[in-house]
C-alpha cells in the first residue's frame, strides 16, 4: 500500500523520484502546502475509493497516520 500511496504522491507533486516513508510530514516536502494538500487528499480518496471525514483529515500528522487511516477505511 505504501508503494501505491507513493505513486499518488509522485503524481500530485510531479516528482517521479519522490520517496515517502511513514515519518514524512508536510514540512519535509517543500511543495506540500494547503493547495497541494487538497489535491493530495482528493487524489488519495479517488485512488483508494474512500472518503475522509474532516476529523480524520485533521488528525493526520504524517504519512504513517495517512497509511493507517487508509487501511482502516479499506477494511
Amino acid at each position: 500500500m505504501l508503494e501505491q500511496l507513493q505513486n499518488v504522491f509522485r503524481t500530485v507533486f510531479q516528482d517521479d523520484n519522490l520517496i515517502i516513508s511513514e515519518t514524512i510530514t508536510a514540512n519535509d516536502i517543500k511543495m506540500w502546502d494547503s493547495l497541494m494538500h487538497l489535491e493530495l487528499i482528493a487524489s488519495i480518496e479517488s485512488e483508494f475509493n474512500i472518503v475522509f471525514s474532516f476529523n480524520e483529515v485533521m488528525g493526520l500528522n504524517n504519512v504513517g497516520d495517512l497509511l493507517h487511516l487508509i487501511q482502516t477505511k479499506k477494511k
Partner: protein
C-alpha cells in the same frame, strides 16, 4: 472590566500590555510552541531583551528575524517599549529580499533567535550587527509587589514616530517600505476599543506571519485587554491547523484570510465552533456563499468583513455580515467592504483623478501613511480638496446602503492566500533568470483557488531548476504553480499580449 478607555489611550502599543501586567499578572498572555507564558513571565522576558537592547548604541529602527517562538514575540514588545520601530524580516523569505529590506531601512541592528543557513548567508551580505536573544527563557518571574504601575517612559530610550515598517510587493521587484506611525496604530486600535468588548477571558488566535500587518492586531489586541494570544504553529497544513486550534483551545476571536474558507469548503458542514464569538476576515475578497456556509459552523459568532491595504494601517472599513442583507448587497458573490472607520474618508476617482461613481478607491485620514519609505511614492498619492489621498488600486463603488463594493484591481496586483502580489514582479524575476519574455497570470483551479501560471515565450524550461532559481529571488508564495511554454505571444487588437487567449488556449 471595561476596557473602553478611549481618552487615556497611551502612545506605545506595549502600554496596554503593561497595564494588564499589573491587573492580571497570572493570566496567560501568550501560547506559543505548546507553552503558555503568563503576563508576568512574558514581562520578565521582555525586560531581559530590553536590557540587551539598551546596552547597544541607540537605534531608531531595529530588525527582527522572525520565527514562531517566544523570543520573537517578546522582542517585538521590547523594541516597542524601547521606542524604536520594528522591522520584521521573514525567515521564509529569500536572502535577497531580506537584504533589500535591511538596506532600504538602513538597519544597523537585527535581533535573532534562531540561526539557519539563510541567516548565515544574509550576515555575509550586510553590514548590520546581529544580536542573538539568549538566555531569556531561564529567567524566573519575580513578584511584582512593588510595581503598582509600570511607566513605559522609564523604559523608552529613543523617540521616533513609527511602530513598524512592513514591505509590500513592488512592480519593479523592489519591495516598498510602508512605515506605520504611532498615530496610525493608535487610531486603528481606538476603533476596536470603541466597537468591541474584548476582555481578559478572550482567547485570540494569531495565524499570520509577522510580515503580514494583520498580525499586529492578532498579537497586540489580546495583550491590550488582558487576554491570551495563541500563536498558530508553522508546521503542518495551515487551514487544518487553524481549525484544530480553534477547537482545541476554544478560541473566541480569530482573524483569517477568506481563502481559508475556500480550502475548508467541502468540510464546512462537519465543523462546529460554538466558542467562537468574533470571526474577522480581511486580506482578500470574502465570498457570500462561503460566508453563509461558515456562519452555520459558528452559531455564536458574528462575521465582520474588513478591508484595508497595508498603507491604511491593517484595515480601515468594516461590513457586519448578515446572510439576508449580504445576499442583497453582494456583487459577483463578493461581500461588501462596508463603511470606513471614524477618522477615515474616501473618494472614488476615474483615470484622470476626477471623482466618479465607480472607479479607483482612495483613502485619506488618520490611518493613512504620509509617504512610503524613502519617498518611493510614484503616483500612489493624490491631493484632493487640500487633503492627501492614497490610491489603493482597488476598483469600488458605493451602494444604496452606503457600503463600499469591491470589483477588482486597476493593475496587475493579485492576492494569493491574502498575500499581495504584483504579477510584474514575478515576470521581472523570470525574465531576468531566463532572458526571455513571459506573462504571469492567475487562474482558478477546481477548488476555485487562485493559481499562478506563467507563460514563457520561445524557451525550453527545466521547471525544477527554474523554481529553485526563483526561490532565491522570490518568497515561496510567489513561485508559480505552473510554467507553460508558448511559441509566440499573440497580440490583441490593442497591440497588447492577449492574456485571455493564453489562458483559454494553453491552460485548459
Amino acid at each position: 472590566m471595561n476596557h473602553q478607555s478611549g481618552t487615556d489611550f497611551q502612545e506605545l502599543l506595549v502600554s496596554g500590555f503593561l497595564n494588564n501586567l499589573i491587573l492580571y499578572p497570572n493570566n496567560n498572555a501568550l501560547f506559543v510552541n505548546n507553552q503558555y507564558y503568563t503576563y508576568q513571565q512574558l514581562w520578565q522576558i521582555v525586560k531581559q531583551i530590553h536590557q540587551q537592547l539598551s546596552a547597544q548604541k541607540q537605534h531608531l529602527r531595529i530588525g527582527v528575524y522572525c520565527t514562531n517562538n517566544i523570543e520573537t514575540y517578546a522582542t517585538i514588545l521590547a523594541i516597542n517599549l524601547y521606542g524604536a520601530a520594528y522591522v520584521p524580516l521573514n525567515i521564509k523569505f529569500p536572502v535577497s529580499k531580506n537584504k533589500k529590506i535591511i538596506e532600504q531601512c538602513n538597519l544597523q541592528l537585527i535581533l535573532i533567535s534562531k540561526n539557519d543557513e539563510k541567516l548565515h548567508e544574509l550576515k555575509q551580505q550586510v553590514k548590520s550587527t546581529f544580536i542573538t536573544i539568549s538566555n531569556v527563557l531561564n529567567v524566573q518571574p519575580t513578584e511584582l509587589k512593588n510595581e503598582i504601575k509600570i511607566n513605559p517612559n522609564d523604559y523608552q530610550k529613543v523617540e521616533q514616530p513609527y511602530v513598524y515598517i512592513l514591505f509590500t510587493s513592488g512592480s519593479t521587484g523592489e519591495p516598498k517600505g510602508v512605515p506605520i506611525s504611532k498615530t496610525n496604530t493608535n487610531h486603528f486600535f481606538k476603533y476596536f476599543f470603541k466597537n468591541y468588548n474584548f476582555n481578559e477571558r478572550d482567547r485570540f488566535l494569531q495565524v499570520y506571519e509577522l510580515t503580514f500587518d494583520v498580525s499586529v492586531f492578532s498579537f497586540f489586541m489580546p495583550l491590550m485587554v488582558g487576554a491570551c494570544c495563541y500563536v498558530l504553529p508553522n508546521d503542518g497544513i495551515k487551514f487544518m491547523k487553524t481549525i484544530e486550534y480553534l477547537i482545541k483551545y476554544n478560541i473566541t476571536v480569530v482573524s483569517m484570510v477568506p481563502t481559508t474558507l475556500r480550502y475548508l469548503e467541502n468540510y464546512l458542514p462537519e465543523i462546529k465552533l460554538p466558542d467562537l464569538c468574533y470571526s474577522f476576515f480581511s486580506g482578500d475578497a470574502l465570498h457570500h456563499n462561503l460566508a453563509v456556509k461558515w456562519s452555520k459552523a459558528i452559531p455564536n459568532a458574528v462575521i465582520h468583513n474588513f478591508y484595508g491595504p497595508t498603507e491604511t494601517t491593517i484595515v480601515c472599513t468594516r461590513y457586519v455580515f448578515n446572510a439576508k442583507q449580504s445576499e442583497k448587497e453582494s456583487v459577483n458573490d463578493i461581500v461588501p467592504l462596508g463603511k470606513p472607520f471614524k477618522g477615515m474618508e474616501f473618494i472614488i476617482i476615474d483615470e484622470k483623478n476626477a471623482p466618479t461613481q465607480k472607479g479607483e478607491l482612495c483613502f485619506s485620514g488618520t490611518q493613512v501613511i504620509n509617504s512610503y519609505l524613502n519617498n518611493t511614492n510614484e503616483d500612489r498619492f493624490l491631493t484632493y480638496q487640500q487633503k492627501q489621498f492614497y490610491k489603493t488600486g482597488d476598483i469600488a463603488s458605493v451602494n444604496e446602503f452606503e457600503n463600499l463594493i469591491f470589483y477588482g484591481r486597476t493593475d496587475s496586483q493579485v492576492k494569493i492566500n491574502g498575500y499581495r502580489i504584483e504579477l510584474t514582479e514575478i515576470e521581472n524575476a523570470i525574465s531576468k533568470t531566463l532572458d526571455t519574455k513571459c506573462i504571469a497570470l492567475t487562474k482558478k483551479n477546481n477548488n476555485s483557488l487562485n493559481q499562478l501560471i506563467v507563460f514563457i515565450e520561445e524557451k525550453k524550461v527545466d521547471e525544477k531548476e527554474l523554481k529553485k532559481r526563483l526561490g532565491t529571488i522570490l518568497p515561496d508564495y510567489m513561485i508559480p504553480n505552473q510554467f507553460i511554454e508558448v511559441e509566440k505571444f499573440i497580440l490583441n487588437i490593442n497591440g497588447k499580449i492577449d492574456k485571455q487567449y493564453l489562458l483559454d488556449t494553453y491552460s485548459a
